[in-house]
């Protein structure tokens, strides 16, 4: 059986400076990140900042993150310690990167480029890239002992690892060079290398995308490369920073086949990339309190209903049977993770009640995750 994940040990570890919470959409990543950050601050006295991507409105409110100014702001209402929180504004982060690395004139040129506007606000990899960028910036300041990172709500958790490289490839790839070289107005043709297909390609793409787009892209990448030597290098550097021992990855999942499948896939990938994966948080298990099997409860309910069809006791027993069946289904699903990743420490967390929307809720969530492993409700 996999070992228990000791979250308190992780949160108090002075050598850990980054904790990244990953997982597919809808598993409770943001809540987990916020709860762990709060606990690190209150219980372990670490100067902590939580970087969230797209928190639910009420959670954002309770963390005091309503001002969208892309800088960490202190969270009010802590029992002790200090916690800052911020919500990522990807466009603004991108703008800052550009502004920081170039002259005001050049920056203005880049900002005005339609392709830059599209990439910085809509491209699907930009959010992931900017999350890493922001993480790097926060680290550099040295203001915090611990940065807890919530990852973007991508279609797949893997996007977090792959998207920055994809954006980098897009922005300084050889395709662009090829295209810009064969765009009208440039004489340095590379057609000889590619044969006729590149010519067809450029013609077709100009027709589909509009000729202006390729020119915009070419100009944009040229100015970026002049200013800070290419996106790929930068993306590689952030990627490497995630591999060091100061970082810790936690996978968050719910006990559903799709979410567990995704967690397995992601965990394997992290291991392959030598990223420090420290554990999985299995969230939202059905809470079962009475240790009575579903079969016995159903049998008793049937007996009671023979005498009294609307028996309230039978209703309570059927409710328990339902919970117990859900719990055992969840156990079977969770077992898939253990079979695939037997060495990864786990913590199981039952649904605590209503959704977590305030500091009290986050505190309870953090305490439950760190103190009360929920693995053994029903034997």
């Amino acid at each position: 059986m996999a070992t228990e994940l000791d979250l308190d040990a992780l949160l108090r570890d002075k050598d850990k400076h980054v904790i990244a919470c990953c997982g597919s959409g809808g598993v409770g990543k943001t809540t987990t990140a916020a709860a762990l950050a709060l606990r690190a601050a209150e219980v372990h006295g670490r100067r902590t900042v939580v970087l969230t991507i797209d928190p639910a409105h009420r959670l954002a409110q309770s963390l005091g993150m309503e001002a969208l100014d892309n800088t960490p702001r202190p969270v009010r209402g802590l029992e002790s310690g200090s916690l800052d929180a911020m919500m990522l504004d990807m466009k603004r982060t991108f703008d800052d990167v550009v502004a920081l690395h170039t002259t005001p004139d050049r920056a203005a040129e880049i900002f005005a480029n339609p392709f830059y506007q599209a990439v910085s606000s809509t491209f699907s990899g930009t959010q992931e890239y900017m999350a890493m960028e922001k993480l790097g910036q926060l680290r550099e300041t040295g203001e915090w002992d611990l940065i807890v990172l919530d990852t973007p709500p991508s279609r797949s958790a893997l996007d977090f690892l792959d998207a920055p490289a994809r954006l980098a490839r897009l922005l300084d790839g050889r395709v662009i060079r090829l295209l810009s070289a064969s765009t009208p107005g440039s004489r340095r043709s590379m057609l000889s290398l590619m044969g006729a297909s590149a010519a067809v390609f450029t013609r077709v793409f100009n027709k589909i995308l509009g000729g202006h787009l390729l020119t915009d892209v070419a100009e944009f990448t040229a100015s970026l490369e002049d200013t800070f030597g290419g996106f790929r290098k930068r993306a590689e550097a952030t990627f490497r920073a995630l591999q060091d021992d100061q970082t810790s990855f936690l996978v968050v999942a719910t006990p559903e086949p799709a979410a567990v499948g995704e967690a397995v896939y992601f965990s394997r990938r992290l291991t392959e990339e030598r990223m420090p994966l420290d554990g999985i948080i299995l969230n939202r298990l059905t809470p079962v309190r009475a240790s009575l099997s579903a079969e016995r409860a159903l049998g008793a309910a049937a007996i009671l209903e023979e005498d009294e069809p609307e028996s309230p006791v039978a209703a309570a027993l059927r409710t328990h049977a339902d919970l117990a069946r859900r719990w055992s289904t969840e156990q079977r699903v969770a077992a898939r993770y253990e079979a695939a990743c037997p060495d990864i420490p786990q913590v199981w967390l039952s649904t605590l009640g209503p959704e977590v929307v305030d500091l009290g809720g986050l505190r309870g969530f953090g305490a439950a995750a760190a103190e009360r492993p929920a693995r053994s409700h029903v034997e």
Binding site: S24, G25, G26, V27, D54, H57, R58, F115, A118, V119, T122, F123, S124, P153, R155, S156, R166, R169, L170, G173, V175, M194, A196, S197, V200, F201, K207, I208, L209, G210, L213, V217, E256, P257, A258, P287, V288, R289, A290, L292, A300, I303, E310, P312, V313, A314, A315, A316, L317, R318, T319, H320, D322, T329, R332, V333, G353, P354, E355, V357
Partner: protein, 335 residues
């Protein structure tokens, strides 16, 4: 069919917050729509391969493949549409690229084109849907209905609002023309966007938000599906009754067990009562709300049929008023 009645939806787009079970609902809907002699295509577009495991099937290919028998005798086909493949298709069709297309792909150009132009990807994907909806084979529609396991609510309007996105692309040429015809279909009564939610605060809030955004973009909303609904009408039960009942049936009637059972019953009662409040909020949207039960054993193929049965019994939602974009081709006959 009278000249003024809007056509029944044939393209069903199923969206919801992550984790609400939209893939499950899309699959159950496809089974429900596949009545006797009907053919339904179930499509996914995000490369997640979420459909295949529900049907115990190997990963879905880009080509359509038979997946399962529908409810009473129809057939459900499955397909995983990929934007890169779709672009290659498209280039081959309009520009007779032949082997040059493959060379472009190897060179990364196809990937490049679909990432460089935000929106091109979505146009290609929705374009494939339109093609499947309007394709005819041997004088009849190839599919009676197409069901899409769509991107989540957070991205759905952007995904469907192809005309806006295509504004960034060339206005002339085949893609521009193509995207306008796709947009007409998506805004017509041929399309229904179904919103899936679970009875919980955040998913319900996202559903309300998505409904507002869809309405603002003039996209047709079909049903609201309230998924994973727990249990029956709650009744009152006392500690005393419980202790007696347990003793009578030979179960442990100790204090701990009684307290634990009461506790469980009380919290699931809160859950059940919360469902009513969420249902009220959703019903205020003015669209039919379909309820699907939480299956305690998880969703397998038999579970899917069970959910499909529920959706089938609800029948077609009342037909809304005709829409501005209804004067389109795409329906069978039309005479």
């Amino acid at each position: 069919m009278s000249a003024t009645a809007p056509p029944l939806p044939r393209l069903h787009i199923v969206t919801g917050k992550g984790g609400t079970g939209k893939t499950t609902v899309a699959a159950a809907l496809a089974l429900a729509l596949a009545g006797p002699g009907r053919r339904v295509l179930l499509v996914e577009v995000e490369g997640r391969q979420g459909i295949a495991p529900l049907f115990d099937a190997p990963p879905l290919p880009y080509a359509e493949r038979h997946l399962a028998a529908g409810l009473d005798g129809g057939e459900v086909f499955g397909q995983a549409v990929d934007a890169d493949e779709a672009l290659l298709d498209y280039l081959t069709m309009f520009y007779k690229l032949g082997t040059a297309g493959r060379a472009l792909r190897k060179f990364g150009a196809i990937d490049f084109a679909t990432t460089i132009a935000p929106g091109l990807r979505d146009i290609l994907l929705t374009g494939k849907l339109k093609e499947a909806v309007s394709r005819t084979e041997a004088g009849r529609m190839a599919y009676d209905a197409v069901v899409l396991d769509a991107p989540p609510t957070g991205r759905i309007v952007k995904f469907l609002n192809v005309t806006v996105e295509s504004g960034r692309l060339a206005k002339t040429g085949p893609i521009g023309k193509h995207s306008r015809s796709v947009a007409r279909m998506l805004h017509s009564s041929l399309t229904a966007v179904h919103l899936v939610t679970t009875p919980a605060a955040m998913p319900v809030q996202e559903t309300l938000d998505a409904h507002r955004e869809l309405a603002a973009a003039d996209l047709p909303v079909g049903r609201i599906v309230l998924n994973e609904v727990v249990g029956a009408k709650p009744v009152d039960v006392t500690e005393e009754q419980l202790r007696e009942g347990l003793a009578k049936t030979g179960l442990p009637a100790d204090e701990r067990t009684v307290a634990a059972l009461l506790d469980e019953y009380a919290s699931s009662r809160i859950e059940i009562e919360a469902v009513d409040a969420y249902r009220d909020r959703l019903e205020r949207l003015g669209r039919p709300v379909a309820e699907l039960a939480l299956l305690p054993e998880g969703v397998d193929l038999s579970g899917l049929y069970q959910l499909a049965e529920t959706l089938r019994e609800l029948g077609e939602p009342a037909r809304p008023a005709p829409r501005a974009a209804d004067d389109v081709e795409g329906g069978p006959g039309g005479d």
